[in-house]
């Protein structure tokens, strides 16, 4: 993974000093809250319902064991012993104080971490595919380009006061595990007819109030033009994005209002002026960054692992776990392990400091000291020897990190919701907990198969409900929590926004509604169909009918 050199470290240290000064000026009254708020947001510090919340950046979801230990320490020392992994591969601490935040940032800086630009109207954490570097279908490791974009976008003087937040995602494989189609800019690596690898550039995707699937503005962009092209897009957005209406200021609104053709033309015209200039990426630089993401010291192993096969036969709980939580690795004899942060009835995406420390140790022991964070709020150990899976599983099971539900209905994505968030209209965590308990039976879960349930506590859609196979949106109806259900959303390369089934359900009724949806699917599905396949075949009608039959 990327390692800071003196320059990276200096910038992060100077940022800590700058923020320390800003906090001091705020407390001394030299800055009003209105003036201070954008400054603290650009350091990821929110004022939420209970306390300040700090969103720490985990660039493209990759952590070293040392960094994870530091996060555990911060949870212990400055918070209430836990952290929350988010849908943008970051981590949030819910109980920090303003006064201590400069110290937290200094501690983060000591392990090459920060909270820079994790909020505010600037370019945010560039997210990637959580199987980067190990997936068989990958063309190149997307994290190379995420790191290049990260540096270009950090403290970018022209783009620090954009009309609104700006999110970029990169997938290094044709199969999109990074949800690029619902980002402001999505970059999908693929090969042109000559076999050259480059990017499809998509713009204007997003969720929130007006969910939109991104449009392709350039089918193929050679790698060397990556930064100049991004600069052109951002410049057009900075100049033309709306500043008068908070709800109309994302780039998706701009693309929609001028039309994708005109928008593309504006970008291309600007790009013609700046391409082949000082932002051109030399091949040598790409290779230099690629060096940081070189494969670890894999051993030459056999693809067949008899001990593992035997263990599968001997222990059905282990076998069950490998079915859902273990994915093939491109190297023979290795496996990719997902650690489920979705225990039955638990808070999705939360990890205690003890769990974080333990996972750091497991990473050192089994996975070259590296951990990934997925945008579905789970963790990944990406390079585990298949022969070690049983021992690892036993340990994970002790830690409560081996729930065999990855990709299944109880692998729920949920934002913190009204329990934590000042923006929320309704709670999301308790709904997730109740659904998870209701669907607790693992045999049934496996029978249901792949089903992504995503819950957001408000229209900002941090739970990504629009792209859930079943999406749940919390709303406030006359002071009471109600939940609107959507069906058929998807965040992969065949991205779609879910369809609203009908009137919202009360907090009491929503779990039953989810059950009804699942039962309907089980009744009408054909052989081998996942929920999403069935939905795309039969449409909304059968579900709507069953859900509202009594009315």
């Amino acid at each position: 993974m990327y390692r800071y050199d003196n320059y990276d470290q200096t910038l992060v240290d100077e940022r800590v000093a700058q923020f320390r000064g800003q906090v001091a000026r705020r407390i001394a009254g030299e800055l009003t809250e209105d003036e201070f708020k954008p400054l603290r947001l650009m350091n990821g510090l929110y004022l939420q319902l209970h306390a300040y919340m700090l969103r720490v950046a985990i660039p493209y979801g990759t952590l070293s064991s040392q960094q994870l230990r530091k996060l555990a320490h911060i949870a212990r020392r400055y918070d209430k012993g836990y952290g929350h992994f988010t849908t943008r591969q970051n981590i949030q601490f819910n109980w920090v104080s303003l006064e201590e935040t400069p110290d937290i940032l200094a501690e983060l800086a000591s392990v090459e971490m920060h909270a820079i630009q994790t909020s505010g109207n600037c370019i945010r954490n560039v997210t990637a595919d959580h199987f980067a570097g190990v997936a068989g279908d990958e063309i190149e490791d997307p994290r190379i380009y995420c790191e290049i974009i990260r540096q270009w976008s950090t403290f970018h003087p022209e783009f620090s006061f954009l009309p609104r937040k700006f999110k970029i995602a990169v997938t290094g494989s044709p199969h999109d595990r990074a949800a690029v189609k619902v980002h402001d800019i999505g970059l999908r690596m693929h090969r042109n007819e000559s076999g050259e690898a480059g990017f499809e550039v998509l713009v204007g995707g997003g969720q929130g109030r007006t969910p939109v699937i991104a449009k392709t503005i350039r089918p193929f962009l050679p790698k060397r033009h990556l930064l100049s092209y991004l600069e052109a897009i951002l410049r057009i957005y900075n100049q033309l994005g709306r500043r008068d209406n908070l709800y109309k200021s994302r780039i998706k609104i701009l693309v929609d209002s001028v039309g994708v053709d005109r928008f593309t033309q504006l970008v291309e015209e600007e790009w013609q002026q700046i391409r082949d200039g000082y932002l051109e990426l030399p091949a040598a630089e790409i290779e230099r960054i690629r060096g940081y993401f070189a494969p670890p010291a894999y051993r030459a192993l056999d693809g067949k692992v008899p001990d593992h096969e035997a263990q599968l036969r001997r222990d059905f709980r282990f076998a069950r776990w490998t079915r859902t939580n273990v994915t093939p690795h491109k190297r023979p004899g290795y496996s990719v392990v997902t650690l489920s942060l979705k225990p039955v009835g638990g808070v999705p995406g939360d990890a205690t400091d003890a769990q974080m420390d333990a996972v750091a140790d497991l990473a050192d022991r089994y996975s070259f000291g590296e951990i990934r964070v997925t945008h579905e709020q789970n963790l990944v150990l990406a390079d585990v020897e298949t022969s070690a899976l049983y021992a690892l599983w036993q340990r994970l099971h002790e830690l409560g990190l081996a729930t065999p539900n990855v990709g299944l209905a109880s692998d729920i994505i949920a934002c913190p919701g009204l329990d934590y968030c000042a923006l929320a209209n309704a709670r999301s965590i308790p709904v997730s907990q109740r659904i998870s308990r209701q669907l607790g039976d693992l045999t049934r879960l496996l029978d249901i198969g792949e089903l992504k349930i995503k819950i957001s506590g408000c229209i900002n859609a941090c739970g990504h409900h629009h792209v859930g196979h079943i999406g749940i949106l919390g709303v406030d109806k006359k002071g009471e929590e109600f939940y609107q259900v959507t069906l058929g959303g998807s965040a992969d390369e065949n991205a779609s926004i879910g369809d609203i089934v009908g009137p919202a359900f009360s907090a009491d009724a929503v779990v039953g509604a989810v059950e009804t949806v699942i039962d309907t699917y089980l009744t009408v599905r054909e052989d081998g169909e996942r929920f999403l396949d069935t939905y795309r075949r039969v449409g909304l009608a059968p579900f709507k009918e069953k859900l509202y039959a009594a009315h």
Partner: protein, 104 residues
């Protein structure tokens, strides 16, 4: 007549606080100074504004409460969560803070 109290977040640590007597801010809602009617509410707001200027709190606002014996609980559920803690982490909750006798 609606009963109201003023709530805010403490500047330095962001914790939820309520305006009690003597311009003190406390974490226990049970100790809030209760305003009945517009005039009393406006008086509380004035105190709150001074506290903002003095950098004690940020974002103060009035909330409606229900009095039940010696207990004060917010009317809106969002404010219940703020006063008592996240429902998802009951071990972090502070249900005892609704009483007038609550510790600060």
């Amino acid at each position: 007549m609606a009963l109201q109290v003023v709530t805010a977040n403490r500047l330095r640590d962001g914790r939820v606080v309520f305006l009690a007597d003597g311009e003190h801010w406390v974490e226990a809602i049970g100790r809030s100074q209760v305003a009945e009617g517009e005039t009393a509410a406006a008086a509380l707001n004035a105190i709150a504004d001074r506290a903002v200027a003095a950098r004690k709190v940020v974002g103060p606002y009035l909330i409606e409460v229900i009095r039940n014996g010696d207990r004060l609980t917010p009317k809106r559920y969002r404010e219940v969560i703020r006063a008592l803690g996240p429902s998802s982490h009951p071990e972090l909750g502070r249900p005892e803070t609704v009483t007038a006798a609550a510790q600060e």
